[in-house]
Symmetry: C2
Subunit: 83 residues, 2 copies
């Protein structure tokens, strides 16, 4: 799965989707990542501005990586994200 994120809120959404795809609970992710369940909840729901550091803690626990690329290139996501 591949997620395009244009805002912190969308990053939170991507994290939720990825977590669910891996059938993890917030608590399990919390243990793996060192980020509290309560905090994960807030991040996934887009409350809280979140620090980059925290996001990376979650992403690496989920084995995800971040790519920064020119906006233009592809609404590749529109296609691939359909599922």
């Amino acid at each position: 799965m591949k997620y395009l994120a244009r805002s912190p809120r969308e990053v939170g959404h991507a994290i939720r989707e990825a977590r669910k795809a891996q059938k993890l609970t917030q608590k399990e992710l919390a243990i793996r990542s060192g980020v509290w369940q309560e905090t994960i909840s807030k991040i996934e729901n887009g409350l809280s501005g979140t620090k980059l550091e925290t996001i990376f803690d979650l992403l690496s626990a989920l084995e995800l990586e971040v790519t920064i690329d020119d906006r233009s290139k592809g609404s590749s996501t529109s296609l691939e994200d359909i599922f």
Copy 2:
């Protein structure tokens, strides 16, 4: 250009590279993004943990977007980033 970021520090580096590629000074980017030059300097150098929000302010000013993807797939970067 495409950057793979595995840490806040690498995000800062990617921002610097993208800014330079667009021949912008920190001050110019500061004006466009609403983030202070001093803050940009610190972010580019990996000092400061930075908030996600601030990163997105910079990325959109640079017309960059973020993709979150499974780690595995491609050391596509190693190839494409060579230049």
